[in-house]
Symmetry: C2
Subunit: 349 residues, 2 copies
């Protein structure tokens, strides 16, 4: 039952066969450094004694290699699983990880209290780490790099490894589409910290710090293609669906309703969608809604959005994380406008 196991180590094998521990080690990690015969013998004995290969802890300590890839999420992990974008990213990442014989360790990025969480991240036994949610990259990242952990980001930057899309371009695609449809009065909905669990309006300058750099870039693209439009930017909180609903509520319950709501993610857009329907409005006719990402449900409800290859992002991120020799260290993936029924001509006011 609760027996504490026979601690079969390399020593056990070595003694049994009369060879040195190093030789046993080599049998596993450097097969060309011993004769095939001996190697076979060692592996056979291992099987016989129930030895399952070098212990992760010992190996990690001595060699520094762990065959583990961290996944860093900027919030509670439970939220990560509630977000289709993140889940799709993880699917791609895990695919690559499996190819490299690595496992994935789920970690959350520490809040502001440096303490417990920060340390959990800092001292985690990992070879590399991939960040997914774009927000809150820097705080922890630097120390990790210093420690020798490869860090793969999810945003374009001058230095370091990353996999991302051109967010300015993504913004332009939406902007151009809405411009053509005649929209001039627009509300942009973003996720981010809210002080009082209440939606609040922010300025374009605050965008980067509240919602992340990617949001600011998309907005730049939007504004570029919608020079005559007036924008309001509303932040509804961190949990996408709820945030979308909250923000949309604030945007809609005013005299001068916008003709289009641009959500910074599909998950957010689905929240907006609910708020819109609750008010008896029909998306695409009474008001246009757009998202970003093209998650599965977007096709389901008919949301106009910008598709980005999420799973591929995960796959490439894994590649950069696990293969230090992969030549291209900064990868930009394509985006594509997907027009569905949630957008239509701006209604005359």
């Amino acid at each position: 039952m609760g027996h504490v196991a026979s601690p079969v180590t390399m020593r056990t094998l070595a003694d049994r066969l009369g060879v040195s521990v190093t030789t046993v080690s080599n049998a596993y990690s450097k097969p060309d450094r011993l004769s095939p015969d001996l190697r076979d013998q060692i592996l056979a004995t291992a099987k016989e004694l129930g030895y399952c290969g070098p212990s992760a802890a010992g190996r990690a300590l001595r060699s520094g290699k762990t065959d583990v890839c961290g996944f860093l999420f900027g919030g509670e992990l439970a939220e990560a699983f509630a977000d289709p974008y993140t889940v799709a990213f993880l699917a791609g990442l895990s695919e690559t990880a499996e190819k490299f014989g690595a496992s994935i360790l789920l970690l959350r990025s520490p809040g502001d209290g440096d303490d417990a969480e920060s340390q959990l991240l800092q001292r985690a036994a990992i070879d590399a780490i991939v960040t997914c949610s774009a927000t809150s990259e820097h705080p922890a990242t630097e120390l990790l790099t210093q420690r020798g952990v490869r860090v793969v980001g999810a945003q374009r930057a001058e230095v370091g490894d990353w996999v991302a899309v051109n967010d300015v371009k993504a913004g332009r695609l939406i902007g151009k589409h809405l411009a053509k449809l005649g929209h001039r009065q627009i509300v942009v909905v973003v996720t981010g910290e809210t002080p009082d669990a209440e939606a609040h309006e922010i300025t374009p300058k605050e965008l980067s710090s509240v919602a992340g750099r990617f949001a600011a870039e998309r907005f730049q693209g939007l504004a570029e293609k919608l020079p005559e439009a007036t924008f309001r930017i509303v932040c509804g909180g961190c949990k996408p669906k709820q945030a979308g609903r909250l923000a949309a509520a604030q945007a809609l319950d005013v005299q001068d309703r916008p003709t289009a709501i641009i959500a910074m993610s599909d998950a957010l857009a689905l929240g907006v969608w609910d708020a819109v329907r609750e008010r008896g409005l029909t998306p695409g006719r009474d008001i246009s809604i757009t998202g970003f990402d093209d998650i599965q449900d977007a096709a389901f409800v008919g949301l106009t959005t910008v598709r980005q290859p999420i799973a591929d992002k995960g796959r490439f991120a894994g590649r950069l994380a696990m293969d230090p020799d992969y030549p291209q260290r900064q990868i930009t993936l394509p985006v594509e406008l997907v027009v569905r029924s949630s957008t239509g001509p701006a209604p005359r006011i």
Copy 2:
């Protein structure tokens, strides 16, 4: 840039302050074994020198504790993320893990080749492991237990820790519901290995080995409440949605169409749903469809199903995994029939 880090260890701190390494260690893991003053001093120096707490590798090696909880999935991890059930389970699990200050390591259960994958699992540095998908429990599990890793299962059993639902009862709920509606000709759809990527029929006796024990138990409940019905059981493969579609295709394209299709999961049922609609049939009128789990999309399309508290399963599993002193080691969670529009009276033939 790529500097290999200043290896700040406990030694560094100890030397700096003129205390022993053990004392530094105690500052972190046994605060009551040194004076508060000294402890504060040590932590302050740690911050100053950029020391982030005991390295995971060293600690794991010496003490055996890792603060990592494994998550074992019985297939490619990418599939895990495609399955809403698994994702919901992970959300619950990660919630508990966070509470305990632990991280989650994603692992896949080895196939039949004992080699690489099996070892990845066996030597993983984890304190405990939680299995989610019910299939393929035993092969690896035993060795882990022997190694001192707590194993938390997802199926009822005589021994060991688990969190599960009463699957016989779940089966009865569906059986009773369909019996009342007059269904007598029924196809049961399950996931499992298929030799030729083609749907194939299996017998009730094969159920347990092909689809897992839980499937067999549910079937037992079904049969009990539908004594006059004739059953065919079809397995369509491992990927739920596709499997459902494939299996349903085989079930539908025959002379004598069933009046109800019972899928062993909602994900599977959604595949069945597609196949049904593709043939111009309306679920709930021309043919009844049921699932198990009550994932989000089930409510969306109107699928009759048996709800099980998936996230709670994850939460409790985490609790058992991370708290060896939690008194109740075998937990059964409730199930509940949820009737929606996908079931209706059996059409007269």
